[in-house]
């Protein structure tokens, strides 16, 4: 037996020594936009025979090393690159270096960096149909938007792992790519802010602010409207617009009814200011959260670049609102100011002072972390998570109740599914096709690119949900930012301003508009689509024009 093993060892040794030549090949694979391509199958061929095999990493790089047959002809080495959504490439390895390792074995070293071109496969059409289909389903509210997105994402993955298994041309997106496409920074940030707001609103602070606005205005309706606009804008800059309007609007309606004025004269400026205020910060509106996370822009970047122009827009819109509602403001019946003040004070008082102190402390702490998150190299979601944990700890709030009632799981699932759908459109090349088209249209001109991104975003956001629109535009703007000379971050600001301010254009442009319309309707004041358009569209037009000028002059 021992003799048998000895001979076996000798045979193995000889067989190994006959493969003593090593081959090392590495490189980076990118698409025509210069973005790295992951999961590309790399095969090293000696003639037609595959001798080594690997796949590219998430940054498009690959490195492959292995023993090959001795005495190979280095001129007969090829690299084959395959990915279902790209055209297969086969390239000859040139400029191969010959060397020796520490064991004096021959080592051939080759490099191949390759640009792969898109292939229009059935997977491309599937991802395109799903993306467009989701936009249609969401816009016409055929299904709840989360259901629509879930259907789309599951359809893409299901197709990939059924049809795609038998024919790679139908493989749209892998499970790993789908998970990678979900931006958990956005999901965790949204969830954490929902927890913070959920606890905070129990204090009655929002309604108290509305009452206080009325008290400060001393019955002057125009002054009241201006104060409410700024209160709403500041609240919306840090908290979500829907919650802000949901809590402030009933108080405004009540005040309007008691003053015998049309509640729209307070509600319209408020809701428009809410959408404007949300544009000013990283956490003010979901499109900003998505942009910040995708482009690695900090809270301070948003405040420095957007808050000044939003302040200008707000001030201009104060006068625009006076133009629309000036007569109504004068109609305000001010003889019962004190009576109404007493009623409002009783009705909208701070319900839990201790909880308010804790909430304000946590909010301050979170804002401080947001301000410093860039320096700390901390994702903003971590700052919000720390705040959410702290507020739960300090308030002693029932976590089950908060999770069930305050965290909008349907919205979070919608975001996740949407990221997968857009990720699939990126994988199959549809998004890069749009990016190329936009770049060609702008002709490398920064001015045209700003105008195009801003106005298309604004008009689209006035008609369709700005969340899927922004998700689709992120890779497009990233490409434009990379390729247009001296673009800096300007196009990101154009997208943020367009997508957020565009929501003011129509009744369906923003969730806050819909909530406000719902509350007004219950009071007997149906906010029609046409009415909202009459006030909202000019406000949007003026706001976007100011933003455009701001960016064009380098603001």
């Amino acid at each position: 037996m021992k003799r048998f093993l000895f001979f076996l060892g000798i045979i193995l040794l000889f067989s190994v020594s006959s493969y003593a030549t090593n081959l090392r090949v590495g490189g980076v694979v990118k698409n025509e936009h210069g973005s790295p391509i992951d999961e590309v199958e790399i095969s090293i061929l000696l003639g037609d025979k595959v001798v080594l095999h690997t796949t590219t990493t998430s940054n498009g790089s690959y490195f492959i090393e292995g023993a090959v047959q001795d005495n190979i002809d280095p001129n007969n080495l090829f690299v084959e690159l395959k990915k279902s959504t790209y055209k297969t490439e086969k390239r000859k390895l040139v400029d191969i270096l010959k060397s020796q390792d520490e064991n004096h074995n021959t080592v051939y070293i080759g490099t191949l960096n390759q640009t792969m071109l898109r292939a229009i496969t059935p997977a491309f059409w599937i991802s395109l149909i799903v993306l467009v289909g989701i936009f249609v389903l969401i816009s016409f509210e055929v299904f709840h938007r989360t259901v629509a997105a879930l259907i789309g994402a599951s359809l893409l993955l299901f197709t990939s792992y059924t049809l795609g298994t038998f024919n790679e041309n139908y493989f749209v997106i892998s499970f790993e790519e789908a998970i990678h496409a979900i931006d958990f920074n956005v999901i965790l940030l949204l969830m954490s802010m929902m927890i913070i707001v959920g606890v905070m609103k129990k204090t009655g602070i929002f309604q108290w602010l509305a009452y206080k606005s009325y008290a400060i205005s001393k019955g002057n309706v125009f002054k009241l409207s201006v104060i409410l606009m700024f209160v709403t804008a500041v609240a919306s800059a840090f908290l979500d617009n829907v919650t802000t309007m949901l809590l402030l609007a009933p108080v405004s309606i009540e005040i309007a009814i008691m003053l015998k004025i049309n509640p729209f004269s307070l509600l319209m400026p408020e809701v428009l200011a809410s959408n404007m205020g949300g544009t000013a910060t990283l956490i003010g509106d979901p499109p900003n959260i998505m942009i910040g996370s995708f482009a690695h822009l900090t809270f301070n970047d948003f405040v420095i670049n957007l808050a000044p122009v939003i302040l200008i827009i707000l001030i201009v819109n104060v006068f625009v609102m006076k133009l629309f509602f000036g007569k109504e403001y004068k109609k305000g019946k001010v003889d019962n100011v004190d009576e109404l003040l007493v009623k409002l004070k009783e009705e909208y008082k701070i319900t839990d002072a201790k909880l308010l102190r804790h909430s304000l402390f946590v909010l301050g702490f979170v804002i401080l972390l947001f301000i410093t998150h860039g320096m700390l190299h901390m994702e903003p979601s971590i700052a919000a998570m720390a705040g959410a944990a702290l507020i739960l700890l300090l308030s002693g709030a029932d976590i089950t109740e908060i999770m069930e009632k305050e965290v909008e799981w349907a919205t979070l699932v919608f975001f996740m599914m949407l990221f997968i759908i857009v990720g699939a459109a990126v994988e199959t090349g549809f998004i890069s096709m749009i990016a190329t088209w936009v770049k060609d249209l702008s002709g490398n001109s920064m001015v045209l690119a700003i105008i195009f991104v801003m106005w298309v975003s604004a008009i689209a956001s006035a008609i369709i949900d700005n969340i899927p629109f922004t998700a689709t535009m992120l890779p497009v703007v990233a490409y434009l930012t990379q390729t247009i000379p001296n673009a800096g971050n300007t196009l990101w600001w154009a997208l943020a301003l367009g997508a957020c301010l565009g929501g003011n254009g129509t009744l369906i442009g923003a969730s806050a508009n819909v909530v406000t319309a719902g509350l007004a309707e219950r009071a007997g004041y149906p906010m029609t689509f046409g009415y909202f358009l009459k006030i909202g569209a000019p406000a949007m037009f003026i706001s976007v024009t100011i933003s455009m000028i701001w960016l064009l002059i380098g603001g």
Partner: protein, 152 residues
């Protein structure tokens, strides 16, 4: 104390059509020789169709706001009623739930004789978005109420 055995109910709204509704209700109350008018408000947080439903997460919070709005509307209506006809007294009816369903159930369980509904001019988009439309249910309501008056 009502001096007639008829129950006259007005669905309150703060707008101009709501005021016209009140005037109509006062006229009917006088015609029927009654001196009591029921003012009905529904706290309906079921705002939206489809996607919109997810916006209203904290129903209690919304209800509190709507109750405040309802109180303001009812106070305004009571003041107007007092200014117009002091002989007619009012009684508040505040219901919680879906507008059409609640009105129907109230009519069914309380033998309502006259129901006055102020009807707003709303297009299909806003009806779809904000819900709360009782027009399609008027025929159904008529089964339980002797007379339904729609004020436009």
């Amino acid at each position: 104390m009502n001096n007639c055995d008829k129950k006259i109910v007005l669905v309150v709204k703060a707008s101009e059509v709501g005021e016209r509704g009140l005037k109509k209700a006062i006229d009917i109350t006088r015609e029927e020789d009654c001196n009591k008018l029921y003012l009905l408000f529904v706290v309906d947080h079921d705002f939206f169709s489809g996607d919109g439903a997810s916006y209203v997460k904290s129903k209690q919070q919304v209800d509190k706001g709507l109750e405040g709005i309802g109180d303001a509307i009812l106070r305004t209506m009571e003041d107007m009623l007092e200014e117009t006809d002091k002989s007619i007294e009012s009684q508040r009816v505040i219901l919680h739930g879906k507008t059409a369903e609640e009105i129907m159930n109230f009519a069914k369980n309380n033998k309502v004789d006259v129901l006055i509904i102020p009807k707003d001019q709303r297009g299909p988009i806003e009806k779809f978005i904000t819900g709360g439309d009782i027009t399609p249910f008027i025929d159904e309501i008529k089964k339980y109420v002797d007379k339904v008056v729609v004020v436009e």
